[in-house]
């Protein structure tokens, strides 16, 4: 699917390419309910941003806005210099055609709390499905890369297994391989270990740690503060739809400035 002259809406005053994610006062309303109340944050390429906050604070909603699973209702959100979900012509925003929106998503991988593997396909088929359907890759090439990816997440021997026959940790690792198969430039993780038994958390975090060390740009919603401290370049604490505090993970964790951050951290640490 080649796009005809993609009229990229470049961030007005920013230099595209400098920032992978550039959120400027992003708001999200569900009808009368305002869930995001002006999120401003930036992620550079190769950075890992960890997003923490209490339940209902809007972390998932923000991630879903980044790959346009939800429409931003105010503010501007740019990914790799391109406005997400809209096209700016003159002073008007025009909704993108679903095909254009899909094209934007191709470069963004997403990993869900509940894995969401396709249960009627085995592990390898899960991984090669999107490259074949969306990118039109040849089956042989897709299989070759799919096997390499399964190997990378330590599941080379499980390519024939169906999701129901895999443990939670294994399923989540297949889901990561599936997202990587699209060769994304940005990976979004929405509480990837929250549905896992404690002894399975480590194997998934290991895969993510490797990914970060290879230079993948990542936004990770997580309650694993150890991971945030060790791997994250930024820690962002969100509450009730606003960014309360942000900074290097060690500083925020050791010395939170805000009362709400202190209260939250005292509960999860």
């Amino acid at each position: 699917m080649t796009q005809s002259v993609p009229s990229v809406s470049v961030a007005p005053d920013g230099q595209p390419g400098n920032l992978m994610v550039d959120a400027r006062s992003v708001q999200k309303h569900f009808g009368a309910l305002q869930v995001l109340k002006g999120i401003t944050l930036q992620v550079k390429p190769r950075e890992v941003m960890c997003l923490v906050g209490p339940s209902g604070s809007g972390k998932s909603t923000f991630l879903r806005c980044i790959n346009h699973l939800e429409k931003v209702t105010a503010g501007r959100l740019y990914v790799d210099g391109e406005l997400v979900g809209y096209e700016e012509r003159g002073h008007k925003l025009h909704e993108l055609h679903p095909k254009r929106a899909a094209a934007q998503r191709r470069d963004i991988g997403m990993v869900f709390q509940r894995f969401n593997l396709f249960p009627h396909m085995n592990a390898l088929d899960n991984v090669i499905e999107a490259p074949m359907m969306v990118k039109g890759e040849k089956k042989s090439a897709a299989i070759e890369r799919g096997r390499a990816l399964l190997d990378q997440v330590g599941l080379a021997s499980k390519e024939k297994a169906y999701p129901a026959q895999l443990s939670g940790g294994q399923q989540q690792r297949v889901a990561i391989a599936r997202a990587l198969a699209m060769q994304p430039k940005l990976m979004l993780f929405d509480e990837p270990t929250s549905a896992l038994d404690p002894e399975l958390v480590g194997e998934v975090l290991d895969v993510m740690r490797n990914l970060a060390s290879e230079g993948m740009t990542m936004i990770v919603v997580t309650h694993e503060m150890g991971f945030a401290r060790e791997v994250g370049d930024h820690l962002v604490f969100m509450d009730a739809g606003v960014v309360v505090e942000a900074g290097p993970p060690r500083e925020v964790l050791a010395n939170p400035q805000h009362e709400r951050t202190k209260a939250f951290l005292s509960k999860v640490l």
Partner: protein, 314 residues
């Protein structure tokens, strides 16, 4: 099974596989014996009762007129089910859309076609050429592109499968809707996040999973449709299995053996359809269960004994 009374936890259980004596269920045996005796009595009675006229049954079972009529019944079933499935998918998608007009139209369709008896609908179809003498397509009151005399192409056969198919579509719509609704929303989301389009998501992710819920009731609908075709006499269309059997039986003054002939054919076709349904269900239940087939378990066991064990003893 020497169970000495020992405090639990002190004895080490033997390592060999348990061979327990199966539980006896005397009630089951009694019920089974009674049923077998009753069945035997019934078969004996049927075989010796002259009203059934088994010799007539035998000579007409493979009569060419009968097998021809069975073929027509099968055709009616297949054509009307194809119409029903296609129209049913459209109606289901319409009912689930955000567009209130599409939704209401689908609802109205279901209300009418499920709310009136199929026999009445078939009789209506038979009268349609007197209700609508011709169909005109074009801009109302202005231009006319197409003019069709209904009588020329609405033969009783066409009216029969249209009547059956359009009625069945209402039921198929609900089955398809339940199937699509049974698929976890996260599936749709994962597909969209992988940049798949709506069509790809439906075709590759949602519908294959919905099939598991759609196929069993659809199989029942096919089998039920096979028998509902006997109502096309209401159109009236009289070349199907039931009508032809009645005609032959009427001419011979022997309705009973001919009804048995028709029943035998219906049963035979139903049995074939049931086998097909079994294989379809098996195909679409892939990955649905943790339970492995014997073959898969064997493969795993072989792999385990060959390589180093993954996590201790299994």
């Amino acid at each position: 099974m020497a169970t000495e009374l020992e405090p639990p936890g002190t004895s080490v259980p033997p390592d060999d596989l348990i061979k327990a004596v199966p539980l006896r269920r005397p009630g089951r045996i009694v019920v089974a014996v009674v049923l077998v005796v009753l069945l035997a009595l019934f078969i004996y009675g049927a075989a010796t009762n002259s009203a059934y006229e088994w010799s007539t049954f035998g000579s007409y079972l493979f009569d060419q007129r009968i097998s021809q009529a069975a073929l027509i019944t099968l055709e009616l079933t297949v054509i009307s089910m194809v119409i029903a499935v296609i129209l049913g998918v459209f109606l289901a998608v319409m009912r689930m859309s955000d567009n209130p007009v599409l939704k209401s139209v689908a609802w109205l369709y279901l209300w009418i076609f499920r709310g009136t008896p199929i026999y009445v609908q078939l009789v209506f179809w038979g009268l349609i050429t007197t209700i609508y003498k011709h169909i005109d397509l074009g801009v109302p009151f202005m231009v006319q592109f197409v003019h069709l005399d209904t009588g020329s192409w609405l033969t009783p056969f066409v009216m029969a499968f249209l009547g059956l198919g359009l009625n069945e579509a209402a039921y198929m719509a609900e089955i398809v809707r339940a199937g699509i609704g049974s698929v976890d929303e996260g599936q749709h989301e994962a597909a969209v996040a992988l940049a798949m389009t709506w069509g790809q998501t439906m075709r590759r992710v949602v519908l294959p999973q919905a099939m598991r819920v759609i196929i069993p009731p659809t199989g029942n609908e096919v089998i039920s449709m096979l028998k509902t075709t006997s109502l096309v006499i209401g159109v009236p269309y009289t070349a199907d299995l039931y009508s032809v059997s009645r005609q032959i039986g009427g001419v011979l003054y022997r309705p009973i053996p001919l009804l048995l002939v028709a029943s035998a054919w219906y049963l035979a076709i139903t049995s074939v359809l049931m086998v097909g349904q079994y294989f379809l269900e098996k195909r679409y239940s892939r990955g649905a269960s943790r339970v492995l087939t014997t073959k898969q378990l064997q493969a795993l066991a072989t792999a385990q004994s060959a390589g180093p064990a993954d996590g201790g003893k299994a």
